[in-house]
């Protein structure tokens, strides 16, 4: 098992390197020069500007600059934020837990919706329940997250005044009150993301279960006289989850997109809203670092999916 994990980690390294090459190329191809304002400033002679460029290595060939940038990233030197005047890694570590909390709970909600609904619909194909679930799933993943977010705010914050629409990290309360406030402000963002994901997962689960339920081993299990519940849970769902895990892992990048939008709508202090804010502030080091962190998260979640895969399907060898 540990050797399998180690090997998967080794396979993840080339994709991380590839991602870093893509990101660095984008940055290097982009127009604009960090010393641009010096060029228009008459008090700075051109030699000073040229010396500065040479000192920071801007005239070096691109691959040398890439290696230097990569080494700095690996050593944890992610640069300095122009806008908030702190180290970029400190800024990101401070924001990351909130993002992971919101994404994690929304994925759990999506799973809690998609599994039962998908399995129930697939065991009764083309029934009334199946058709309603299918139509609702279509509606669910056709509603963009930014619109559902605004609708939720309109209904639950403005009309009903039940939930706060601004996410606060500094809640002035203690004990149970503190937890309750946190849960209350997380309900809407988690629901927006979770319902969107749950809708598309429901369709995956349904079609995967439909594929498995026709197989001979399910007929055998029924013929043995096993109860329907045991047949579905032990013989169908476990096998059906294998393709679902793959599809879910492929969807992970899109989940982070949804998380950025949700964080922006509800003003959640996570790395998604940090990305938007730093883009609007022209804060390049933070933009690069956050994009890279998002890419790393995608790789990490793919790794988790691979491990789940191995657990669901014992035929996959861990060697």
């Amino acid at each position: 098992m540990s050797r399998y994990i180690a090997r998967r980690l080794l396979i993840a390294i080339p994709s991380l390197l590839g991602i870093s090459v893509v990101l660095f190329t984008v940055l290097a191809l982009a127009p604009g020069d960090p010393f641009e304002e010096l060029a228009t400033n008459p008090n700075v002679p051109p030699e000073v500007r040229a010396n500065l460029r040479a000192k920071f290595g801007l005239d070096d060939p691109i691959y040398i600059r890439y290696v230097r940038w990569l080494l700095a990233m690996v050593q944890g030197d992610w640069g300095f934020s122009f806008a908030s005047r702190v180290d970029v890694d400190a800024l990101i570590w401070q924001r990351l837990p909130t993002t992971l909390f919101v994404i994690g709970s929304s994925q759990l909600l999506a799973l809690a919706i998609a599994l039962p609904v998908g399995v129930f619909a697939a065991t009764r194909p083309y029934s009334l329940f199946d058709q309603i679930a299918n139509t609702l799933a279509f509606v669910g993943f056709s509603l963009p997250t930014f619109f559902t977010g605004l609708l939720f705010i309109l209904v639950f914050s403005i009309e009903l005044d039940w939930l706060p629409f601004v996410y606060r990290a500094d809640i002035q309360a203690t004990g149970w009150q503190w937890y309750w406030e946190h849960v209350k402000q997380a309900i809407m963002p988690v629901a927006v993301l979770g319902l969107f994901q749950g809708a598309s997962w429901t369709r995956y689960v349904r079609s995967a279960v439909l594929d498995v339920i026709r197989l001979d081993h399910v007929t055998t299990a029924r013929a043995k006289g096993l109860s329907e519940r045991v047949v579905v849970v032990k013989h169908v769902v476990r096998n059906a989850l294998i393709p679902v895990v793959t599809l879910v892992a492929l969807q992970m990048p899109a989940v982070f997109g949804g998380a950025i939008v949700t964080e922006q709508i509800f003003r959640i202090p996570g790395i998604g809203s940090l990305l938007i804010a730093s883009i609007l502030n022209n804060d390049t080091p933070v933009v690069m670092a956050v994009t890279f962190v998002f890419a790393c998260l995608v790789v990490v979640f793919n790794l988790v999916a691979d491990l789940l895969y191995g657990w669901l399907d014992p035929r996959i060898s861990y060697r």
Binding site: V22, P31, G32, L143, F146, F147, G257, L275
Partner: protein, 316 residues
């Protein structure tokens, strides 16, 4: 019971239908597909609704002649009335006129980005599918790499870095349009490439391709005349879904304030402007939001109907 569950209802109907059809005369593949598509009632209704939306967006500005930037402070944030059927925004500009204008751009971005994604995807998938060995492996590694890039953050990064430059070269409208279309298109080709490659793997071993090869057809001719037309069914389905995804992507960018500039009111941009006035002008957000939702929903349903019509083996 276990063996009797069919892949999809229309596939089932199709099998039953062909038995009846054989007694009459054979249908062409196109008519066969249309017959299967018609059975998907929601898809059929979606075609009608989408057609109405497209007609309104294309012809609407000719009928509803209110200028999109006509500022009227006496009618600020007015709810829907007869003079302003969709209400007005904070400058008293007519929302119906703005939505008709913005809808053109939203739908055009969707179509153009889909074309970019399909072209790149078919090209990469076809080259990978017909050539074996290192070319195939390299192209698939590239596809996997792009699949593991988070699209929205990278999209934002690219737009952040290149927006001003393109604006200077092409002007604000065309520059942003080209940028958004190319960038969205370049992040949606991977599923198409994989689909096409998988199709090529199975089709290139079929007897009719072998026959063409035996008759001396060049590789290009095999691909263009024999393999590609037979691989296009799933590509059309994926392309339809891509239009919806591209519309959402453009709206998301505009909603984050990083898409089109404020004087080009795409649906996402209207929502972005409206979100600070939710409490006293909800109509401002509801109409463009509903338009995006309706366009995406109908396109998704049409994609589902096309899947039943062109690719009846698949359920998903």
């Amino acid at each position: 019971m276990a063996g009797s569950t069919l892949a999809s209802r229309t596939a089932d109907a199709g099998v039953a239908g062909t038995a009846a059809v054989e007694r009459r005369r054979p249908f062409s593949p196109g008519r066969e597909a249309w017959r299967r598509f018609r059975r998907h009632r929601l898809a059929l209704a979606s075609v009608a609704i989408l057609a109405v939306m497209v007609l309104m967006v294309v012809l609407g500005p000719l009928v509803w002649r209110v200028p999109i930037n006509d500022i009227d402070f006496t009618a600020r944030l007015s709810p829907p009335t007869w003079t302003h059927p969709f209400g007005t925004d904070d400058l008293g500009q007519d929302l119906l006129a703005r939505m008709l204008y913005g809808g053109r751009i939203s739908l055009a971005v969707g179509l153009a980005a889909m074309l970019v994604a399909i072209s790149v995807g078919v090209l990469v998938g076809a080259v990978a599918g017909i050539s074996r060995g290192s070319v195939d492996a390299g192209l698939m590694w590239l596809t996997d790499l792009f699949l593991s890039l988070p699209p929205l953050p990278v999209l934002l990064l690219v737009i952040y870095l290149f927006r001003d430059k393109l604006k200077d070269v092409f002007g604000p409208e065309v520059g942003v349009f080209i940028l958004i279309v190319v960038v969205i298109g370049c992040f949606r080709w991977m599923p198409v490439a994989r689909l096409v490659r998988a199709q090529f793997f199975s089709i290139r071993e079929k007897e009719f391709v072998e026959a063409a090869r035996a008759l001396g057809a060049s590789t290009t001719r095999q691909v263009v005349r024999h393999i590609l037309p037979n691989a296009l069914g799933p590509v059309i389905v994926a392309g339809t879904i891509d239009v919806a995804a591209a519309i959402i992507a453009e709206s998301t960018l505009s909603f984050l304030g990083l898409g089109f500039p404020p004087d080009i009111p795409t649906w996402g941009r209207l929502l972005y402007d409206a979100k600070d006035y939710l409490d006293f002008a909800p109509h401002w957000a509801l109409f463009p939001g509903a338009a995006i939702f309706l366009a995406v929903l109908t396109i998704n349903f049409i994609g589902d109907g096309l899947r039943d019509a062109l690719d009846p083996r698949k359920v998903l």
